[in-house]
Amino acid sequence: MAAIPSRHKSLVLLAGIILLQVLLLAVQIKRDSQGRLIRTWTVGAVSPFERAGSYVFGSFRDTWRNYFALRGTKKDNDDLRRENDALKLRIAQLEGKAAEVDRLASLLHFRQSQADVPMVAARVIGRPPVNDSLTIELDRGEKDGIRRDMGVITPDGVVGKVIETYPHTAQVLLLTDKGSGVGAMLADSRIQSPVGGVGEPLVTMKYVPNDDDVSVGARVVTSGMDKIFPRDLPVGTITEIKPGNPFKQIRVKPAANLEKLEEVLVLLTLHPLKQSDSAAQSAPAAANAAPPQVSNP
């Protein structure tokens, strides 16, 4: 340690003694608003270092938090994205299951209301990869008692008929196919006429004479004449009527949603079905909502 030159010793002594007396003053003096001077000075002397330390520490902390500590954030983000995707998928699955439960509940309700009619529930497992072939494939077949020409329905209405069976699967020709047809009649007037597909979402009611009163919105049900479907099973609702020669051109919207079939019922008998409550209730409503009848040409 370097020695202090003798000529500077007195200067150091002077500074030390003055400093001591300044501190002595500070200890004694008490300012009205700020407390003792020594406290004010101490705080004033220390606080800049505290602020500087706090600033430096805060800078390091922020740097750490905002940069270094975020090194794992990308991985966390990726993990969260994957988890989010998995959860979205899970939600979609649950929503699908919920919808499936609703459909199955509807099927069960319908099945219970027709307890005396033998039928088997089947799941739609496929559609042929040909656009002009309106068929579906079921997950049940001959081992479940399904045979050709058996009717396929949903609680909403007619779907089609079985055209091919295999031990564990079956193919169904939809009502909208060109080669499909079902014996039908108007629910209210009981006017009978077969309904067939034309390869479009709507089917046609083919042989209603121009003289018969038919209104848009009228319900069409099965007549049982085709020996495939029992009577009074909903087929659809008339949406368009045009005069024809010699028959009206009547377009019917199928009662069953043939575009989104997932579960169906295969009728294992041709016994007549009782009309469901909902169908019975909707009949008068549809009749009330029907527009004026189209006049004959």
Binding site: L14, I17, L25
Partner: protein, 176 residues
């Protein structure tokens, strides 16, 4: 230690004086007592600062900055102690600085001439008052006037008194 010895600075020879045993302590106490007593009977006597004059005298004579500032410290703190309204250290700081300056200057100049003593004392008085004012203003946040005519008058008075007082104090020196 006997008498005085020469302090050689450059080409000049400055005498460093020694004093009788207890002379400095006795003189300082006497000055403090007089300073406390005199103004009671003579109002104008408050213009005098006898402790300051004693500090200056022994600083100039001893010519040792360390002892000079220590003497100033002791005298100043005692003066503060005797004044209830003044915080300890106010005059202590001022007289410490004056003791240092006086002994430092005394080591470089011949301060035996009455004119030099007069001028130096008047100057030190102003410096002393300035230090007190700075201390009051900056450290104590107390109002204190800076230089004034009254201050210059007091400085001249103290310088004049110092000329005669220092002659008396010279008698306390040990003869070489």
């Amino acid at each position: 230690m006997n008498g005085a010895f020469d302090l050689r600075i450059g080409e000049s020879h400055i005498e460093v004086h020694k004093f009788r045993t207890g002379a400095i302590l006795f003189t300082a106490l006497f000055a403090l007592v007089i300073q406390a007593w005199f103004p009671l009977h003579f109002t104008r006597a408050s213009l005098l600062d006898l402790p300051l004059l004693v500090t200056i005298y022994f600083g100039l004579s001893r010519r040792n900055p360390s002892t000079g500032l220590l003497l100033g410290t002791v005298i100043g703190l005692m003066q503060d102690s005797l004044t209830p309204t003044v915080p300890l250290g106010l005059y202590g700081i001022a007289k410490t600085i004056i003791g240092y300056l006086a002994s430092s200057i005394g080591a470089r100049l011949d301060t035996e001439h009455p004119a030099a003593r007069f001028a130096l004392t008047a100057g030190f008085f102003i410096v002393h008052q300035a230090v007190v004012a700075v201390t009051r203003r900056t450290l104590l946040a107390q109002p204190e006037s800076w230089l004034s005519l009254h201050l210059f008058g007091a400085a001249l008075l103290n310088g004049l008194v110092a000329v005669f007082l220092f002659i008396l104090l010279d008698r306390l020196r040990r003869q070489s």
